[in-house]
Amino acid sequence: MNFCKQVLDAGGTIAPLVLPYEITKGTGIFNPSIYYDDFTDKLLVNIRHCQYVLYHAEKEIFESQWGPLTYLNPENDLTLTTNNYLCELNKNTLDIVQQCKIDTSKLDVKPIWEFVGLEDARIVRWENKLYAIGVRRDTTRNGVGRMEFSQLEYTDVGLEEVKRHRIAAPPPDQTYCEKNWVPIIDMPYHMVKWSNPTEIVSINLETNTSETVFLGKHSPQPYDFRGGSQVIPLNNEFYFACMHGVSLYSSESGRKDATYRHCFIIWDRPWNVIKYTNFFSFLDNKIEFCTGMCYLDNHFLLSFGAQDNSSYVLKVPKDYMENVCLG
């Protein structure tokens, strides 16, 4: 049974996130990152918009000519360009009440690789500064990915990126692509870089460097854990996050396909893993990606994308979530 159904049965709700056609032009919005900003008392969600449409024939019956899983870019634009829209949600209905494109123009430089823009940005406010933290791969000719902190400020006309920090990987900083580091919401400038084994890094925005400050032990699991939602407190005793695992495989005709599944990882305060929940699907789609979680009014709110085409917020009663994670 998919997780959303379980949550609905437990008294939760689900809401679709829809941006106007004038913004999307019919292409996908996905990987939303929800965040309750107690500084402004606003429920925020950052939504990623790209110019591709994911065509995924999950049962491999009506495949495109390129296979079951195809990223359909415009035929005259092979870049994968991301724009981010920071939206305010109605706390009750979870409808978008305001959306604002993050204006990055002041800090943009000409991209020199095909993946353009800040991808899968998670929202967090640390020390009164609002950040979208994601991976950028357009600054080198071979697509090296590094986490970037994009500091945001509201202006009279919208929302502007005012500072940008490209963070080196922990020494020796020789990896090809760092992505999906997730912020620990109440530990400023600390992120879970990897979750099996748990690796926590500390970020220094003065030097734009990172340092591993905790490394746990590996635990055999059916999937390689990759990043997901922000890491948030649970019950004052624990931290937890919704992480994803990917299974990549070939269709019968040898073409690529994939399944994404999620689980919750629960840590105690010294960062020992207390529990990995069972892997689950949100909506029984093969491609799903949760990139946001927050707590508000006795509920946990999870934001996730499905098939890279649509976005949702799932409102989970606190008791139910605690039972899933700690029961």
């Binding site: 998919n2 959303c4 159904k5 609905l8 689900i14 809401a15 679709p16 829809v18 941006l19 106007p20 056609y21 999307t24 032009k25 019919g26 292409t27 996908g28 919005i29 449409v53 994911l54 065509y55 995924h56 024939a57 999950e58 049962k59 019956i61 009506f62 495109s64 000519q65 195809t70 359909l72 870019n73 415009p74 035929e75 005259n76 634009d77 409808d95 909506l283 029984d284 789609n285 499905a306 098939q307 085409n309 649509s310 949702y312």
Partner: protein
């Protein structure tokens, strides 16, 4: 959003049921979130054994991709899935032929449209049929006509368009009516049918010319589309120094009704043309006045008063030649026929392209009620006399009776070949 939320909840409770996927997809489509709609249409198609639901869902997948734009390779493949699922339905052929049309692959566009007409003959309404923008068989016929033209099958194209405007006019959506009318005007119009500037120049034709008029020896060639200039001179016995009002002049020489009158017979007058390129050419090539404007916006009493010297408020020639038929008729209604009389009028009713088939009769009634006599009806430029586009009129009080009797060749049962009329054929 409320309905979307409810349908999302329905879906969550039964994610593998095709119907819940389909309903959610339709709602996403309605709120114009096409990428999400695509995902759920595709899921619906893969989760049903109902071939009509598969077919419908995949058509909508294609539609979502069409809207997202510039992904035609995949759109094509999706519509090909549809044809393979239900080869007897017409919609996928139509959609696919349009893709080839956009890519200007005319041979494939024609082939697919033709296959659709032959094989896509199922006309029962499917569930959700109203959500497909397939207008009907005429849409495939139009695709075939259009692609036939660009493939060089011009006669076939003209025939299909004629068939559409004659036999389907009550079924056409306003958009299609407009499109067909425009294309009729474009690809059937005599203006585009390679007019010869040398028709009258051929001396053996000259010998056969039925209507002799003064100063005929000055005429080396007719510049008009179908000898309108010769008709005017025939009606007015080769009058020199006449006057004209020319609405929709087009090119100043090529297919022009007044160039011969001005250049050889010293006529004066005023032309109105909306196309600034033609106006510039007119100014460069012609002595007489030309005005660049939309003919529907002009006060003709003022225009005549300011630009045409008249005697007893009589002007020798009026040309009415705009498009489409409705526009020409509206301009006719703006003419101050109570204040001014025209000896000769050539009126382009564009009956071949008038999908409503009403403006020719309206113009005839109006001109007859204002004292004009229909001398030659339904002139065509094509050899087979299929595409009638113009009537020629004279004022009953302003034409010599003997001349009128010679010129009179009105038979409303048949179209008129101008070459036959003048004796050239």
């Amino acid at each position: 959003m409320l309905r979307l939320k409810q349908l999302l909840i329905d879906y969550v409770k039964n994610t593998e049921q095709a119907e819940t996927n389909l309903e959610l997809a339709i709602e996403y489509f309605k709120v114009r979130h096409y990428a999400a709609a695509l995902s759920f249409f595709l899921r619906a198609a893969e989760r049903t054994n109902n071939v009509e639901m598969q077919y419908f869902s995949l058509l909508k997948v294609g539609k979502c991709l069409e809207i997202a734009g510039n992904r035609l390779h995949t759109v094509r493949a999706v519509y090909q899935h549809c044809i393979n699922i239900l080869p007897n339905r017409p919609e996928a052929y139509y959609y696919l032929s349009r893709i080839y049309e956009w890519q200007e692959d005319w041979t494939t566009c024609y082939t697919i449209a033709n296959q659709g007409l032959r094989h896509g003959i199922a006309d029962n309404k499917m569930q959700y049929q109203e959500l497909l923008d397939y207008p009907g068989k005429y849409a495939l016929l139009f695709q075939k006509a259009l692609s036939a033209w660009w493939w060089g099958k011009n006669d076939e194209s003209r025939d299909i368009l004629q068939d559409l405007s004659t036999n389907y006019r009550n079924k056409l959506t306003p958009e299609f009516k407009y499109t067909i009318q425009n294309n009729m005007a474009r690809i059937v119009s005599p203006a585009d049918s390679a007019p010869s500037l040398k028709r009258y120049h051929k001396i053996h034709h000259y010998d056969r010319f039925k209507f002799r008029f003064d100063n005929l020896n000055l005429v080396e060639e007719s510049y008009a589309q179908i000898y309108q200039d010769l008709f005017i001179l025939s009606a007015l016995n080769g009058k020199k120094g006449g006057t004209y009002l020319e609405i929709g002049s087009g090119h100043p020489v090529l297919c022009n009704n007044t160039y011969l009158l001005e250049s050889v017979f010293d006529w004066t007058g005023c032309a109105v043309e909306i196309n600034s390129k033609y106006v510039e050419a007119y100014k460069a090539k012609r002595k007489n006045q030309v005005i660049c404007d939309n003919a529907l916006n002009i006060d003709y009493s003022e225009l005549i008063k300011s630009n045409i010297t008249t005697s007893s408020n009589i002007i020798d020639y009026l040309q009415l030649d705009c498009e489409p038929a409705e526009v020409t008729y509206k301009i006719l209604l703006k003419m101050p026929l109570n204040d001014y009389k025209f000896r000769v009028i050539t009126y382009e009713h564009d009956y071949y392209a008038d999908v409503d088939k009403i403006y020719r009769e309206k113009s005839r009634l109006y001109l007859a009620n204002n004292g004009y006599i229909l001398v030659v009806n339904d002139l065509c430029s094509d050899y087979n006399k299929r595409f009638s586009f113009e009537d020629w009129w004279v004022h009953k009080d302003l034409i010599d009776k003997d001349t009128l009797n010679k010129l009179l060749s009105c038979n409303l049962e048949t179209n008129t070949d101008p070459d036959e009329y003048f004796g050239f054929r």
